[in-house]
Amino acid sequence: MTTAMILVPRTPIRSGDVVMLKAMISHPMETGYRRTENGEEIPRNIIRRMICRYDGVEVFSVEMHQAIAANPFMSFGVVATKTGPVEFEWVGDNGFRHRQSAQLTVTG
């Protein structure tokens, strides 16, 4: 089961503030370079891309490769303009896709 956590600051946000968003998702990020005890290759299974949309507009995206650790954690700033959903989407190998969103509320 995939679990993701998104953190939007709970303090009051004013229009024009830079807010830090954090997101973490459970994923093994198997590199494809390892082998089992019997020498069989463990196939690659990583998240390739993470996209963040704020109020429907893409504001941040990442391309990920094998060097990213398990359970990728991303933190970045966005300029708050208006109240709206912050939607994260993770896309990866083997048809992996997970979407989760949180509400960013701007007061004043």
Partner: protein, 254 residues
Amino acid sequence: MRFFIFLALIAAVPALAQGIAPQDRRSGFETMGPEAQAMQRDDFSNPAMLGVAAGEAAWNSAPANGKPACSGCHGDINATMRGVDARYPARQANGAVMDLTGRIQTCQSQHQAITPEPRESAGLLALQAAVALRSRGMQIEAPASRGLSEAVSRGEALYRQRLGQLNLSCAQCHDDHWGRSLGGTRIPQGHPTGYPIFRLEWQAMGSLQRRLRNCFTGVRAEPFPAGASEWIDLEIYLRQRAAGMASDAPGVRP
């Protein structure tokens, strides 16, 4: 090469046989690097909290056979599981001594009538992490004060028993040489305060038994089978040794 010279040196030192004084005890959290500490301090960067979130979801979801979810019997996890992990392993009503993992497996087989999830499975570790979080900051209770003195002494005997091809006991590293280097890493005192942990080396959650297995293979001893009573005895002794220290579960460790 240096690693083996060091091992040869500690093997040559006679066992000091006394433990660590209570005021000198340090949890793995205190002795690990500042980056790993920062990762654990912020619940939002602690990967073990993903396990907690999955465990809380599992707590509230009933199995397909119509039997109750964990919450069906135990109710709100925040209320009923408070302090539970701090007093495990514990003696059950039927006299059996179980670790938290074994207790959850028993619930799954007896009350939910499902095949218990195996040890080290993500599902079981997640449930355990969700329960353990409810004891965070609380003091680990001494097993000897709960009628487990015999298990404590069996565990202590194991702790002081030389093992494996390297012929080393737990005590020789974790009592006599904690704080020194072994193969480039710092030897911790080995207090089980944060289990289940997210270990960076594993890139995954794992139990105390998995960690103990690592030490066994490290000294080239054959580990006991998963869930063996020897592991439980050892865990009980380690909890006795760490009694009064604060739980920081679920922890991050290097």
